[in-house]
Each structure stands twice: as structure tokens, then as C-alpha cells.
Amino acid sequence: MSIACTGEGRTLRAALSGEVDHHRARALMGELDTLIESALPRSLTLDLSGVTFMDSSGIAVVLRAWRRMGELGGVLRVSGVPAQAGKVLRAAGLDRLFALED
């Protein structure tokens, strides 16, 4: 597992770390899918504070989690966004879908 998960009940926090690129994206999507399907959280916070690099492959990872949470009637929060990842997510306009918290 490369995602560290904490939380109780239906409030979850998933910490992504390292470089989020195409090389790792599929595995991360799979882990997040499993996490969401099994916990059915009302609120999922993606903690990006340990992410050292992100490119457009990471946009797809975050968007997929956002879409899945929406389908389940829950909310996605994105926190601990480092400068480089934030610039990429903002360039894609994701800050118009949900807040990118520092």
C-alpha cells in the first residue's frame, strides 16, 4: 500500500506520498477505488502533503476520486497541497470543483 489511511466511521483521510505520475497512477487509482468501495466514506480527505511531484496523471487520480465520492453522495477534500502539485491542479481548473487547501 502506498496510501496511508486513517480515520474512523465514514470520515477518512488518505495520504498520498512520493511522485504521482503515469508510472504510479494506475496503482494509486486502484487503491483509492478499493478504499472508497470498502469504506463508503461520507467525507474523504486526500492529504497531498507528502507528494513530491505531480503531473497530469495525478489530475486523473484526483478527479476519479472526486467523481466516485460524488456518486456516493459524499464529499472530497484535498488538503496539504504542495506548491508544485497545486500549480498543476489549478492549471487544470480543479480549484473550481473543490477547494485546494494548503
Partner: protein, 149 residues
């Protein structure tokens, strides 16, 4: 007259996804000799990652092929990155550069070219179907001369 590069490096590697990290780290190391800001290095790394990932994902969809990356540094602190593949090529470049356009599945967001364009000063794309694609990106680094020591 076109100015001569002050330094140049040429890398050739297989289109394996493990080389995405290699290519952007190599670019960051080479550019470091111009003493760029952290944000400038990160912008260049991100643009390199996008261009190289496109070769790996789109140019050679079902096989491995060669990817070439040339980096050049000019006197006026311009960094030039050329990423070239000999893959399937792009049918309509203008369409490919449109935000959200993708021929990928749900694993792609169609934002790669948009990110290259917003992180670099200039992005040029040449492509021929069945022959391959070349992406040329330039970014002029800020002058560090005035920076306090």
C-alpha cells in the same frame, strides 16, 4: 542570427514508464547549472514529464520504442527541451492541444499540452502520422544577477 547553445545534452531511452522520473530528474540536474529558482525547475520538470509521458502512453500504445530528449541552454538563459518519438503520430495537432481533448481512457485527463503551454514560454509540435512526433519547448529563466547574495 540564431545564437549558439552554451551547453547541450542528448538522451535516448526506451518508452518505459520508469523513465518518466528519470527524464524529468535528468532535465532538472542539467538545468541546475543556470541556478534556476525552485519554481522554474519544477515547471520544467512538469513540462518534461508531460511530453515524455505522451510518448510512452500515446506514441507507442502497444509496444516499446525509442524516445529522445535533447536539452540546450543558451546565453540569454533560455532552456530548450526537445522530446521526440518515432511512434504513431498525431492526426490533428490543433485538436490534440485543446484542453480536455484525449484519446486516452479514463486514466487520462487531456491536460498534458495545456500544462506544457502554461508552464513554458513556447511550445511547438510537429507530427506525421506513422512517423512520429516532436515537441519543442522553451523557457527563459529569470535573471539571477540582481538576486541578493
Amino acid at each position: 542570427m540564431k545564437q549558439q547553445p552554451g551547453n547541450e545534452v542528448l538522451l535516448r531511452f526506451l518508452s518505459r514508464s520508469a523513465n518518466e522520473g528519470f527524464a524529468r530528474t535528468a532535465a532538472a540536474c542539467f538545468v541546475a547549472q543556470l541556478d534556476p529558482t525552485l519554481e522554474e525547475v519544477n515547471d520544467i520538470k512538469t513540462a518534461v514529464s508531460e511530453a515524455v509521458t505522451n510518448c510512452i502512453v500515446h506514441a507507442y500504445p502497444n509496444c516499446l520504442g525509442p524516445v529522445q530528449m535533447r536539452l540546450r541552454l543558451f546565453e540569454d538563459r533560455t532552456v530548450e527541451v526537445v522530446v521526440k518519438d518515432s511512434g504513431v503520430g498525431i492526426a490533428d495537432i490543433e485538436q490534440a492541444r485543446t484542453p480536455l481533448f484525449t484519446t486516452g481512457n479514463g486514466e487520462r485527463s487531456g491536460m498534458g499540452f495545456t500544462i506544457m503551454e502554461s508552464f513554458m514560454d513556447q511550445v511547438k509540435v510537429r507530427s506525421r502520422l506513422g512517423k512520429g512526433t516532436t515537441v519543442v519547448m522553451r523557457r527563459r529563466l529569470s535573471s539571477r544577477a540582481a538576486a541578493p547574495v
